[in-house]
Assembly symmetry: C2
Homo-oligomer: 176 residues x 2
Amino acid sequence: MMATNGKEDVSVSSNDGSGYFTKSDSAAVNGVAPEAPSLSRLQNGGRARPQKFTFSPEPSVEDIRRLQAEFTDERDWNQFHQPRNLLLAMVGEVGEVAELFQWRGEVAEGLPDWTESEREQLSQELSDVFIYLVELAEKCRVDLPQAVLRKMALNRMKYPASKVHGSAKKYTEYKD
Amino acid sequence: MMATNGKEDVSVSSNDGSGYFTKSDSAAVNGVAPEAPSLSRLQNGGRARPQKFTFSPEPSVEDIRRLQAEFTDERDWNQFHQPRNLLLAMVGEVGEVAELFQWRGEVAEGLPDWTESEREQLSQELSDVFIYLVELAEKCRVDLPQAVLRKMALNRMKYPASKVHGSAKKYTEYKD
């Protein structure tokens, strides 16, 4: 499955399918338009358009659930994959993500100073969190994609844009 | 967006769109075929087929990224959403999932003894973990869906089904 990543209009960008952008994309990664002339720049009359990062359209959350269920079945591992074990596995992977960020100061969007190897490790640890989250939801019979839509609707009600603009307060701290 | 959930062949099951199955599905939730005769049962010559739980096909991971990006933009919250802050937010939500499982013994697949309210809370906390995971990946420029495919390929190499069948050992513990 190739990552098209919605970036077909940028002539110098590429995604090597690793789930991370390669060195040649470092300009794009940091939100700066690449130096080489691109179709979109020409179309914009010479003005660079800010790069929009998007995920690949596939695989879906359900694809990931199915692939992981097959992986677990083939290995006869369902005997170990009770909800609490999966939760602990997820906690462990979250810890591995945290390890990659520890002992650093704040890190800017796009992780400009990270090496390729650090980026690859992060990509793997975030994937592990995702895989266990999906399997935990499955074993708890939570329809995760639909649950997220519903939670997002709740969040929009709790935090109306007009009321909370530019503020990091918790919803309980706002006075009506 | 309606959840079809791949269960059209089961006459008594329904998903209320809450991301969680309603009481009327409790039999299906626990992997036991519902009492009412269903098309699939008739097709199987009277033998109940085990219920297969699947996620809804939508929204995609990219849909979730985009919706959360819009939510953050509308509130001018990108100023707070640096990678390390998002990681801490995710850790906090993982803690809220853990709280729902603490002080219980092991919990069976499908959470048979949980109340509707506990299920709803779980559905919300798993969603929060997912939302922050997606935004963290976005801000780190990790193409999460593709990264997961790649990590799954690595996992299949690390844990060949023929070698690890029924064993919970870590890959470093296997002798060649």
